[in-house]
Structures are given as C-alpha cells and as structure tokens.
Symmetry: C2
Subunit: 202 residues, 2 copies
DNA sequence: AGTGTCATCTTGTCAATGACAAGTTAGAGT
DNA sequence: ACTCTAACTTGTCATTGACAAGATGACACT
C-alpha cells in the first residue's frame, strides 16, 4: 500500500502497467526491465523477483492479455449474439490494448509453454469459437473449423495491419467502422451491394 | 570474392543472409549485430558500416522482403489470374520467408520512413490490389477498397496466426491447403457446401 | 609503374542491459 | 518477543549497440 516503504505492496501489478506504458511508447522490442524498475521507483533487480526474467514478465503480460480478450469476446457474444460483433470486439481489443496484443502473438518474446498462458489462450479461442456457433449451419458447412479460422484470420489480420500502420489512409481513422465494412464479405450472401450492414439489435 | 581477404567483397549480402538464419532460429527480438558479425567472420563493427545501426539492417531486410513479396504476388496473378492463388502465394511467401515476413510487419523494429522501403511496400500493395481486380465487379461493389482490405486481412491474419503457432493442430500441417479451404468463405456465393475447391489449372 | 583517395573493415572504448549472487528489510505467524 | 521468509537492495559480470579512430587495399588517374 505505502508507496514509499521498503515493500512496495503491489509491485507486480505496477510493473505490468509500466510495461504496457513502455510498450505503447516504443514497442515491445525496446522494453527494458531496468526502465520498468525506474518507472516504478524500485531497484533494477526488483522485477526479477516477481517474474524471473524478461520473458517471464512478458509471459504474464500475454496471459493477462488473453484473459482480457476472452472476457471481451464473451461479453460481445452474450450481449449481441452476433459473430460480426464478436469480430468487432476482437479488433477493438487489439486497438484498446495494443501493448497486450502486440506481445500475445509474438511467442518468441515469452514462454509459450507456460500452463497459465495456455489456459488463457484456450479461453480466448473458445470465445471466438462460440461466436462462430451463432452462424446458421448451412453457411458454415459440416466442419466448423474452416469458418472459425476464416473469421479469426480476417479480424486478426485486420487488427495486425491496422496496428502496423500498413493499411492505406483511405481506410479512415475508425477501425471499428472499417472492420464492419470489410467483414461483410465474410459469411454474407452477396458482397457489397448494400453499403452498410444493419446494426444488430441489442 | 575472397573470403579471407581484408575486404569481404559481399558483406552486405552475407549479413542479410545471416540475419535471416538468425531470425529463423530465435526470432527477431534476439537478433544481435555482433552475432551476425561472428557468423560472417568479420569484426563486431563491420555491420555498422553497411547498415548504420540495427534498425538500418532490419530496414534493408524488410525492404528486401517487400520486394520478394511483390514479385511472388505478381507471379501468381499473371500465372493464374485468380485472386485465390494470389492469396495462397501470400501465405506461401510468409511461410517460406518467415524471417523477412516477421520483420516486415513490425515497424517498431525498423525505420518505416525509409523511401526505398516505402516504395517496395507500395509495390506489394499493388500486387494484391491487382489481384482483387480479377474479381467480378458485382461481388466487389462500387468501392474496391473494402474487398481489398478483406482479402489482405484474411491472408495476412492466417499467415500471422500460422507462424505464431496460434492455430489449433486440427488445421493440419499444410498451410497452403488450409488457406484454400478457408478462403472459400470470402467472395463465394455460399460458404462450404463443396468440401474442396477445385485446384486451378496451371 | 607510381600515387592518392576513399570505401571497407578493424581495434578500442563506453554506457546500458539482463542475469545472477549475496545481503537487508519488514511484515506475518506463532 | 521471536522466527521465518517473501520482498526488495546492492554489487557484479558478460553481452550488446553505438561511436571514434586507425589500418587496409581496391581503383582511378597520371
């Protein structure tokens, strides 16, 4: 509790938040444990106690990210029952939690064998899988897996390209609107005849 | 030419190849200029002369990657005239040139303002854009951009997820087959009634 | 052939970093 | 009050990226 005492009280959380801030500023490659320690006002070796090493910290950050993603996807599915909205939630998560997202899909940065991480990742996958289950069967076909991969790929690709600044400026500044416009091509009868998809009722 | 002489002769190319090998082994985060110098048998400061600094080397690597990608996409489009095959070529490029691909879409690792890089990136974008132009107009709609973003997103997302090992094992071991199965959901009349898309004649 | 020039590569150095070892503090349980 | 131990500190080392200054040799010019 007391920020000035020898024992920080909540250093683990503070370091994770500092890591998010640092990654938002300079990307995950430039992350430095010593910089995080300085931000938190502790000694350079304090992070090691909580996370072991750098990849340990990033493993914790990725785990937290997968948990947040799973929650966001479940919320969208339960609120709307619409796969499109689940996809929108996926992209919004990537944009709103950029630092988490950028670490989550970079397994070379963390320990991908960590059990807690794998469990959180599986929960995320389930969130998307249940979203695909809201589609009519005749559109998905006998095997739901390809549809699931397609849905995941399109939102994940869009989010990645958006974050990477790879998309042309004509796409606009609102990722949510752009992903709605784009996702009509998936699982729709005809591509782009109507210029806007009807908003799903809530 | 002479590998033992004071002047290496082709150090720039050798270093780029060494970087590809190193990234394939341990990912871009673990890349070390001094390790590349050791692999090439030169002094630790030799890379700086050719690339300035680490981000300079990665800028060169990304530029080379965008050029290779543009060539691969153009080749596929000219050979088949089919957008699906352009998408397959995209995924194949990512798998075959994993190191390049992993750097290309990580602008925090290199200098995204480099003119040569931007030119190469634009050429890649053009390759995909021309691929979308092979689609019938009534499927794309008045504005081709959303269709282009959708196509790019789905293949890019699939490639990224595949490389990240994020996809479930049921997807199989052949990325090309998996992307063909999946991409049927884009720009198709109905999702998955036929269980396999006909291979395009070559 | 002789000379100069300059890109190429080397050696040397410095601050920053990740990792580890060993010591210190304070809070929690008995 | 006493002990135990998690939490944190100080100190150190090898490695790295970056920079400065020097050495080498390929090539052009005469």
């Amino acid at each position: 509790m007391n920020r000035r005492s020898y024992h920080h009280g909540d250093l683990r959380r503070t370091l994770l938040s500092a890591a998010v801030a640092a990654i938002n500023e300079s990307g995950p490659a430039a992350l430095s444990l010593r910089d995080l320690a300085r931000r938190a006002g502790v000694s350079h070796a304090a992070p090691a106690h909580h996370f072991g090493d750098k990849s340990g910290l990033l493993t914790a950050l990725a785990t937290e990210g997968f948990d947040l993603l799973a929650a966001a996807l479940s919320e969208a599915r339960e609120r709307t029952g619409d796969l499109l909205e689940v996809g929108v939630a996926y992209v919004r998560f990537a944009v709103d939690h950029r630092a988490h997202f950028e670490v989550m899909f970079r397994p070379d940065l963390y320990d991908a064998d960590d059990p807690a991480l794998q469990a959180a990742r599986d929960r995320s996958g389930e969130g998307l899988s249940l979203g695909v289950a809201t589609l009519p069967k005749e559109r998905v076909g006998g095997d739901a897996l390809p549809a699931q991969i397609a849905a995941w790929s399109i939102v994940h690709g869009f989010a990645t390209l958006w974050l990477g600044g790879a998309l042309p400026p004509e796409v606009g500044t609102d990722p949510e609107a752009a992903v709605r416009t784009m996702a009509r091509f998936l699982f729709s009868d005809r591509g782009a005849t109507s210029s806007s998809a009807p908003a799903s009722p809530r």
